[in-house]
Structure formats: structure tokens, C-alpha cells
Symmetry: C2
Subunit: 170 residues, 2 copies
Amino acid sequence: MGVDPGSRFTGWGIIRSDGAESRYVASGCIALPPRRPMGERLTRIYKELGEIARCHRVEEAALETVFVHRNVQSALKLGQARGAALCALVMAGVGEAAEYSPRRVKQAVCGYGGAGKEQVALMVARLLDHDSDFGEDEADGLALSICHAHHLSVARLAARAREASGEAVS
Amino acid sequence: MGVDPGSRFTGWGIIRSDGAESRYVASGCIALPPRRPMGERLTRIYKELGEIARCHRVEEAALETVFVHRNVQSALKLGQARGAALCALVMAGVGEAAEYSPRRVKQAVCGYGGAGKEQVALMVARLLDHDSDFGEDEADGLALSICHAHHLSVARLAARAREASGEAVS
């Protein structure tokens, strides 16, 4: 499951992957009413993400690393949304979320780190063989899940290769 | 209950107040291990604060408003801790936390907004007639709860005054 938390929109996407192939499972966007009190908005992220993760029995999660942001106030708001999302994932039994830089996510999905939002959405739909139009935040969530699945499968292959060479040596 | 969330230490303090008098109930500081993964640390804030609020049947909560911060990365971290705390309070049935500026909290406790950390801790102990030495974060939590209790009692008196004058007019 990839999650892209925000103080207005929290995109999410779930895929099933065996390493070689990734299949689309579900995706969506939690839109927060802008004029409601902060606790209510954050609790909506917390409850909905937790419910989605439990419902789909999510085993792994990934978020984007945040390096820079426009200003301190928006970083604080983004942080609050991330805090709610990270708590939800741990409390739903998913555990720690992996983190990938935006560049790395774009590289995994589009082949290069400078790809635009539309290209990401387009490539996500192609890679998952899914012909619906994904919203921006939804596509970001799915792109994160593809990036994480890719990372896990490469890590597994590398471990197997190390094991095999170890066996050959011993 | 006053809560002062932070990425390292989250201070909290609970008082019981009838408007005229405030009594010390409990206070403490949740220290987060610095080298553990972020989800684990945030979940500790979430779980512990929720448990404390439920255990003491907290009815009202207050946090400090954040205006400025050293830099974007620390604002993001502080935001994450705040997000976990705000979720915990709503999920524990306390509801939305009130917010007060640091100046206003110091004014309510020390009489002027420029008071230092040590003065706040000293005045909190005096106001609550409690002779233990409070830690800085703990004292901040208690100061917030005193400020909120003060605000609520003034608001109640003002409402009563309006009612009384309304009755006199009608």
C-alpha cells in the first residue's frame, strides 16, 4: 500500500505483487473538508486508512520522503497528516512504512526521476494494466506501492544471489 | 489536560477545576527513544496519551499554537507528533483540543507573556499547591491545562452575565 498524506487530500493505492507481476487491488483519495477542526480531519485520515489497511490485509506500506516544503506552516500541517497516517498503519498491524524520495518513485514507475504528474498517472495505469483514469493523489499512492514492490523484489533477488554464491563457496 | 507534543518529549498535565479552584491530578512526560522508527515513536504517543486520557476521564484538552519554528524539517517532525496526539485525544473521546499561544499560556500562569521556562514551572507548582519539582515539558502541559481552565471559567462567567443582563432587559 502506498500512501500520500496531505492536509487536504490523502491518496492511497493497494497492489498485490509476487515480485514479477503487480496487480491492481484498490485505490482512492480521502478528501478532508477544509473548514472542519483539525482533530476531526486527522481522525478521518486515521480511521479511514486503518479501515482500508485492515480490510485489504495490507502487509507492507510506503510513503514519500519529505525533503523540502514551501514554508514552515504547511510543513507543520503536512506533518500532522503524516503523523495520523503513520499511526493508522502501525495500529492496523501493517508496521513501519518504508520511505522513498519522489525522484525514486518516478524512476521506478516512469524510468526517470524528472517525470511529471500526468506521466506518472499514465504509467501507473499501464503497469497495472488498468484503464481507469486515476486521480493525481490516487496515482501517487499506487506509484509508491509499485516502487516499494519493485524494491522488495530486487532485495529478495539480491539476497538469493548472495545465498547462492555463499553456497557455491562453502 | 494540557499536552505539549514533541518529536522527543511529549509533556502532559491533568488538573481538575471547578472554575474557582484548580487541583493537580496527574502529569508526566512521554520520552521517545531517538533511534526507533518513526511509526513506532508516533504510536507510542498515540497509545500512551489515549490511555492516560481514558484512565483519568479527561473532558477537555489544550495544545499550544505553533507559529514559527526553526526550520521546515523540525516543523514536519513536530507536526507528526501533534498529529499523533490530536488523533489520540479525539479517539479517546476527549474531542477537539483548544489551542493557546505560548504568550497566552504564560500570561495565564505567570501574569505576563514573557516569562521564562523556570518561572512557568515554579508558578504551576504554586498555583496547584504542589511541592514537587515539575520537569519542563510536564510543567508546560500543566500550564496549558491551567490556561484552558481559566479560559473556560471566564467564558462561563461572561455567558452568565449576558444571560442576567438579557433577563433584566426582557
